[in-house]
């Protein structure tokens, strides 16, 4: 069956993005990507994907606008509170045995997961000995993560999740409010290094004891999921931990046999 015009245009757009800007979306799940590109047409003011392709080739700012659609800059603090509870009860006790810790949060988006993890580590007395690498491919998201400013509205929802996640204090201890926004406490950020890193094109940069990569793999096809898990396997030290999103698994990757489940339900694994 001959391909439809839109599919061809999308493939060409992705190729153009790769050749021009080295962002590699060629192995992403296409259905949601297509939906987002079609939305981008409206905001960027193009009537077809081909026109958008021409535009981004010559206009880096237009590309940056498109990147906000190609990536998915949405996140929440303490998303799936049970995940964080599982970390507290099943991972933290083992992390305590290390004198120093390196933790990698891959695909950290606008930082919500990073602050959640930093709060958890602080309450468990581990933040002082930790170095957290928070990585993403979207520079605007990384910048927002660095700033740590969130809307008051969203903080209300996160407060409930924080409590369900086993929070030991008041969530408001971790931010200062100003008007309709809050600024996360900067002590949480002192142990975090934000960096540009792509699971699709970059290699391992450090040995880590725990990696959290949530709701990133669902955007990848199987081949790219395999690559990403391969990086995690390589980066994790002996018996290191890996946490995934609540609907992500190792089942379809070639590393299924090289991890054991710590919490099946919460998708926490340990390297064998």
């Amino acid at each position: 069956m001959p391909e439809r015009a839109l599919e061809i245009e999308l493939r060409l757009l992705i190729e153009a993005v790769y050749l021009r800007y080295s962002y590699d979306f060629r192995n992403y799940a296409m259905a949601s990507l297509k939906r987002r590109v079609v939305q981008a047409l409206r905001t960027i003011g193009c009537s077809s994907v081909s026109e958008l392709q021409g535009k981004i080739l010559h206009d880096p700012q237009a590309f940056m606008a498109l990147l906000q659609y190609l990536t998915i800059p949405v996140s929440e603090m303490f998303r799936d509170p049970a995940y964080y509870l599982a970390l507290r009860t099943q991972v933290v006790p083992l992390l305590r045995t290390y004198p120093s810790l390196k933790i990698w949060i891959a695909g950290c988006s606008t930082g919500e997961e990073v602050y959640s993890m930093a709060i958890l580590l602080k309450e468990e007395g581990l933040l002082e000995r930790s170095l957290i690498y928070a990585t993403d491919i979207n520079p605007q998201s990384l910048e927002r993560a660095r700033q740590g400013v969130y809307t008051l509205d969203s903080i209300r929802a996160y407060t409930e999740s924080y409590q369900k996640a086993g929070g030991k204090r008041l969530f408001s201890d971790y931010y200062t409010a100003a008007y309709d926004a809050v600024l996360m406490d900067k002590s949480l950020r002192e142990h975090v290094t934000f960096a540009d890193h792509s699971l699709a094109t970059d290699s391992v940069f450090a040995e880590t004891q725990f990696i959290s990569c949530r709701n990133v793999l669902i955007y990848f096809d199987r081949a790219l999921q395999d690559r990403a898990i391969g990086l995690f396997h390589e980066s994790l030290g002996h018996r290191g931990f890996l946490g995934l999103g609540s609907k992500e698994s190792l089942d379809f990757t070639s590393f299924a046999e090289q991890f054991e489940p710590v919490s099946k339900r919460e998708r926490v694994f340990r390297k064998l």
Partner: protein, 196 residues
């Protein structure tokens, strides 16, 4: 000569179903007595609260003889299975006919969204897809069902006067004229005819 409606109903590859308020009851009436070897995958988006584990899979395992699963990322939908989108995730179908999940922003305040599933399924299965829109107090699904119609798929809307909440079926009827507007009993009959 273009195929008649009933000819089209026998050439399908998949059925997608969307619903919100009142949907569980409607779906259970519709699927009661479906044979366990039903020849098509049935894929459902039901609006559910995002942060609560949903019991829907367990409920339907008890209610019907189809194989009931939560749709998993990268799974390939199989005939005789009834799939539900997981709470908090959009469910889509990829060109290689496997599922994909995403946490993309909500559509019509909903994640999973019916439009998102229907659009992607229309894209993949074209005229070999049937879309069914049931009761609901939200207009999600209307545009998706319209996409299915535009790709030549078979479209079915629950008779609004019978629906517990009629916003969802009425929103579709405002957009276009579907192939069928039927009460649940009629949709059930139609489904049985789709079974090859």
């Amino acid at each position: 000569m273009s195929p008649t409606l009933s000819q089209r109903a026998t050439r399908l590859q998949a059925v997608v179903i969307g619903m919100s308020a009142g949907g569980l009851e409607a779906l259970s009436q519709m699927l009661r007595d479906m044979p366990e070897d039903f020849g098509l995958p049935l894929i459902v988006v039901q609006h559910v609260p995002e942060n609560h584990p949903s019991q829907i899979v367990e409920i339907f395992q008890r209610l019907c003889s189809l194989q009931v699963d939560e749709a998993r990322d990268k799974d390939r939908p199989k005939p005789g299975h009834l799939y539900f989108a997981p709470p908090g995730y959009h469910l889509q179908v990829e060109m290689d006919r496997t599922f994909s999940l995403s946490v993309d922003p909500r559509v019509h305040y909903a994640r999973p969204s019916i439009d998102v599933l229907f659009d992607s399924a229309a894209d993949v299965w074209g005229d070999q897809l049937a879309g069914i829109l049931l009761t609901g107090a939200n207009s999600d699904g209307a545009e998706g069902l319209h996409s299915i119609a535009r790709y030549g798929g078979l479209t079915v809307v629950q008779e609004p006067t019978e629906a517990l909440a009629d916003t969802m079926p009425r929103s579709a009827l405002k957009l276009f004229q579907p192939d069928y507007v039927l009460p649940l009993a009629g949709i059930r009959q139609l489904l049985l005819r789709m079974d090859r």
